[in-house]
Symmetry: C2
Subunit: 612 residues, 2 copies
Amino acid sequence: MLSKLKTFLIGSPLPTFATAQRRLNKIRALAALSPDALSSIAYANQEIYLGLLIAGSAGLSLALPIGLAITGVLVTVAISYYQTLDAYPSGGGSYVVASENLGKLPGLIAASALLIGYILTAAVSLTAGVAAIASAYPTLWPHRTHLALGLLIVITLINLRGSDETGNLMSIPVYLFLFTYLPMLAYGAIRLLIDGHTPLVAIAPPATEALTTLLILHTFSAGCTALTGIEAISNGISLFKPPQTKNARQTLAVIALLMAVLFIGSIGLTQGLAVIATAQETILSALARRLLGSGPLYLLVQTSTMLILAVAANTSFAGFPRLAAILAADGYLPRQLTNLGDRLVFSNGIVALAAITGGLMILFGGDSHALIPLFAVGVFLAFTLSQAGMVVHWWRKRGRNWPLKLFFNSLGALTTASTVLIIGASKFFEGAWLTIFFIPALVYMLLQIRLHYHQVASQLSLRGIAPAFRPFVNERAVIPVTGIHRGMIDAVNFAHVLFPQLTALHIELEPGSGEELKEKWNQWWPDVELVVVSSPYRSIVAPFLDFLDETDRRHADGQQAVVILPEIVPAKWWQNLLHNQTAWLIKSALLYRRRNQGFQRVIIDIPYHLER
Amino acid sequence: MLSKLKTFLIGSPLPTFATAQRRLNKIRALAALSPDALSSIAYANQEIYLGLLIAGSAGLSLALPIGLAITGVLVTVAISYYQTLDAYPSGGGSYVVASENLGKLPGLIAASALLIGYILTAAVSLTAGVAAIASAYPTLWPHRTHLALGLLIVITLINLRGSDETGNLMSIPVYLFLFTYLPMLAYGAIRLLIDGHTPLVAIAPPATEALTTLLILHTFSAGCTALTGIEAISNGISLFKPPQTKNARQTLAVIALLMAVLFIGSIGLTQGLAVIATAQETILSALARRLLGSGPLYLLVQTSTMLILAVAANTSFAGFPRLAAILAADGYLPRQLTNLGDRLVFSNGIVALAAITGGLMILFGGDSHALIPLFAVGVFLAFTLSQAGMVVHWWRKRGRNWPLKLFFNSLGALTTASTVLIIGASKFFEGAWLTIFFIPALVYMLLQIRLHYHQVASQLSLRGIAPAFRPFVNERAVIPVTGIHRGMIDAVNFAHVLFPQLTALHIELEPGSGEELKEKWNQWWPDVELVVVSSPYRSIVAPFLDFLDETDRRHADGQQAVVILPEIVPAKWWQNLLHNQTAWLIKSALLYRRRNQGFQRVIIDIPYHLER
């Protein structure tokens, strides 16, 4: 029944050879990978507007220059990643590029920054997107956390269904957003040409703070969040239909172009038409209202903004499981993250991301929006390490046009490094310091996991053992007896055949009960000794383990007595609640409560299945 | 470390022979068993006052007559239970008496009513008691659910420590309550004698409803909650030091006397002094304020009321685990409830009650106070069945003075039966109907559990099998192979010795990986066949189970191949998260996902313990 539900929710399992057929064409890959990048525009815009508003008309007149500077960074980063796609056709996320060219530690720093970034993007964009929709429909407001969790479940299921379905379903919000914003911006541009500029001075509220360099840098940092999500393509290259590199490069170019047009277009129009927002609405909403009035067209634009914000989380679902699988393959994360699920996606990574995101959403509710700009410093750190890695790559490998490529990646590295410094310095006390704590903590965890796998491998290694059959003999076995029943008969008969020295052990909880059992036992198996041990403290497991240790000591034959466990298995799961689980307790104690060094005791489970 | 924490919290384990020394003297037994009965007075009083207030002074003047009627019921019930203690010296709860004399079903109905009553008393008295304390100290108000949960944990731990500690700790609130209330009532009685009656007419607010018979009956029902908790003694007889019956009878008599004095005393004084409470305070608080002013004495009385309300839950902790253990011994509840824990108490029952109570408190918060009067109908149902059982008992058994005893128990049965009818009718739509749903549901559950145990016993029964050794031979074994490592060497060598026909099985997830493994395998164990099965859907368990079934079918030798499971056990528990739990998945599938009728496959677990 559970497996039917699973098939209903995520579809029937796909065979491994179907991997190639599950790749996406450019149209759907863009839809699957771009929501975060495109939605970044929406809040970067708002951050710039709010940052400058306090400096009055003089401040707001700097919006376009700052926007152009950010677009400059965007173009540099996009070109750098374009080159990365060429050099790493099998997927060149920041982790791969940084660890291959700069070393293990820079790679892990980049990976940690991205993992944290993905998680925060998922949590924050879901709550923010749903909050935006709920503020338009006030009846939904009290239920926004439940709605956000519901949306999380939907996005998780879509991603578990596989890339095909993700591409199809994400197309709706992404292309709706593009097909409402691009025409609106074009119409605005025409209006601007016809009507001409409106002077800001007359409209902007008076300045409350001076226009300092710090304020400008602060606004620039905040606006740089526009770039988050652009690295998704280089991580997700395996999603594309062949020719993968070509398709991925073209898609990256299109996304970068769209981001630039949307960003510069909206900032330019806002400044050119001197749009000012009230405290209750965003600057993009004010711009849309100025251009389209408050009718159905305006509502369509607002709805599409909310939808793309809400599905921005999907970029994390595309990126996180892939990065986690790469890290797991290198031994830095639990191995299970490399498993391809029923639908040929990294199901464990998807479920892990959903669980962490859901946990954060429940823990922090809607209050976490402030975290996104903070972790921008982490994302730009990953960008910088990746670009610096590319610089080393070109220097080592040379190849066609290498000086030009090296130049572009150097420019990218310098630009993103300066951005890291600017964001880190101007936002340090607002929370950028958090990255100083969380990234090293995550790097430490990754290294510890790797260490564990290394230790396991060396402990299991066959080095120094020649292939040969060395019989591993156990002649002694102990069977715990609670009573004589059908399950016990099979177990004793089985053990009797295999182990010449079989001992039965009864732990007596109520004084005197052992004698009665012994009499009955001797009728059944007179040649198997039944030992009765009384347990004054009413524990079964501890006296049983003590007895095993003691017999081993007494025999001193280098063997560890085998444990025979007759286990009654009920017909329905809930019936387990009605039984004492003694077999389970003994098994757990033998496996996990290790009692002595070099302990290796064989456990033989002889189930007796009840029919009803 | 966990076991040290346990010892610190509940004390070191006690041997079974210490049971006799853990019995309580009368002083401490009264403290352990009476909190619910005594605290009932507090809210029964309030219910009567509120019920009559709406009928103005004419209504309030009926408080004393109604109080006397309830005290009459109390005395009858107390005498009946007094006789029960005599007839059932080893513990005569309603369940025992009703099932022995009236039959299985009446017994189970009484048991269900009491179980539900205990759970509700625990949940409601904790929240109500803490709410009372928190309303005196408003800073605590927002934390009252957490405080109530904290108090639940404390009461649970005290009860897990055993009856000695329970008796000691409960003495404080119980005797504090008695030593503040009894002198206060005495002082009030003297004042009343000196000052004389105050007429109610001048003081009571005008009537808003007419004084109908229904209103009087309704108030009577509400006031009958004063009796809840009185059955605790007959359930808890095993707590007493010998001579048990005598001690229990004397304690019951003292408790009944105290209840009567407290109840009649407070109601009489309230009416005699014409005390009227404001909407913000209880009638007992108003009485105390009238007698003692608002100084420290008044605060002491209030504090003692709150404390006894808060620990009323302890009566449930005394009663529930004992009743559950009796039911479990008869097969109506999970057998584990009969286990005596480390401290010679029914730990599982205590923990179960704490878990259910905690769940109810989290679910309903403080809103559940209304439930207590509703389940009074259940409690009186249990009283009635118990008294009726006693009537049958005397009729059958006769003995000294049997007609007199039969008369008292008949009177008890009639009184409580009429109370059931009055409460049921007058409070039907306020929630008494809930008992019609919950008691049958619980009875059904108890019967189903009993049926399960019967079925298990008959399935495991040895009837028809003569004692004889019939060798249970398995020559075939299958070992799943993921790779060749130290753990695998031990497993193969062990299996090789015991099973002539050993097959190794590798489930190939990545096409081609099997060939490589096969080569290495043949170097190690050329005489053990390694079969490679490819799994296009990347599942390990399903192809493994299919292979087992297929081999069994092919061999058609009536045997089921044994499964050899090499299992790597990490040194620390968290390291389990880093491994693929394949052995665990296979074990669970073999034990719980039964694949075919009569399935009984032996599993041999060969652990390999890692050192770090």
